[in-house]
Symmetry: C2
Subunit: 189 residues, 2 copies
DNA sequence: TTTTTTTCTTAAACTAGATTAAGTTTTTTG
DNA sequence: CAAAAAACTTAATCTAGTTTAAGAAAAAAA
């Protein structure tokens, strides 16, 4: 049931069978079809989501009405609007399935309990957030040093398989430009 | 000696006197005068820095030779080039004191040991990286939804004291525009 | 397989912000 | 305090990327 998560946790710390069983009482599986919403703006973000299979995206709608994708999560990544999740206040974001997606959910009401009952998960989530922060540092560097075209070429080189998985307009906003400009870049080559 | 750090850790977890003493053997204090470098591009980032007093900034030099400030750290924040720190490979970044600054240093050779000897710090750093990730989510949202002028006005509203502490050209690059454009914005009002 | 919806493309007009360059003000240092 | 260095301003010119709008292609649904 939670195999994918157990395996991922075991990369960083080792849980016993009993601990696996205890963890199973605090999480739950869920399945979403393409375009389904796990969170909508105005709602409070109830959970932190671990992607077992598929792809989720976090986005908001800007003043001009355009969707701005700020994060993707594929297999073995966590995603949430942390500010809403931690404070339990309404979110400005949407979390949507970019593909048919299976997740493991930790609800906010179990989040503190999780660490009390399974202190080993402190290390696991320390590593998860450490990686997320590292990814942010790298992303900010790219945003501040590369042109739109360079970011697209670079992203394509680094994640060629991923680029095939999502529509170009999602990718364009994630990389910080318009879909029309992405078409222009692609037409050049 | 390490009072500021002990207090900060105690916001999230409680260390005993013995644990404080053990921690003291794994960290060290240091003091840097304005403009001193804690890290220079080409060097490997040796430590994670906790700011007791003052202000550090993380920046790199782009292709055009301009400094791009990607992060600031003031009192009670941690700063490092995580990628270089964790992999112990050369960095593209500089870490520089923006003011006379006092820090507490965790060197990489003590980083794993720290968590082995003081497992309570897993929770502390889980919270630290959680906060850093939360800050990144907010920052990316601002970068993707606001104009340069809006980002400046907003940042000024949120951190009016901080704006006074650093030269405008550092702030301009942190907010993602040129110092000349910042002058233009300021002239308007 | 036809229809509908979603995604992608093209091109002309436009603009937020960059660049360049010179001068001014403020801060630091000897 | 004088001189040098660092930080800030102004303004003209320029450009990377946006906007608008319409049509084409691909994917999903019926």
């Amino acid at each position: 049931m939670y195999h994918a998560l157990y395996n991922h946790i075991d990369r960083f710390t080792n849980l016993s069978i009993e601990e696996h069983e205890l963890l199973a009482t605090l999480v739950q599986p869920a399945s979403y079809k393409k375009k389904a919403y796990l969170l909508e703006a105005g709602q409070t973000c109830r959970a932190n989501y671990f992607v077992v299979k598929g792809c989720l995206r976090l986005y908001f709608i800007d003043i001009k009405g355009a969707e701005q994708t700020t994060q993707f999560a594929i297999e073995n990544w966590w995603i949430s609007d942390l500010t809403s999740f931690l404070s339990q206040r309404p979110s400005d974001f949407y979390i949507q399935a970019a593909e048919q997606t299976e997740v493991i959910i930790i609800e906010q009401r179990h989040y503190d309990e999780l660490f009390l009952k399974l202190p080993k998960l402190e290390k696991y989530f320390r590593m998860i957030f450490q990686k997320l922060h590292q990814a942010s540092q790298i992303r900010i560097k790219y945003l501040y040093s590369q042109t739109a075209e360079e970011r697209y070429i670079n992203f394509n080189k680094l994640f060629p398989e991923f680029v095939q998985r999502v529509p170009q307009y999602m990718l364009a906003s994630y990389l910080g430009f318009t879909p029309e400009f992405l078409s222009k870049i692609r037409a050049k080559k």
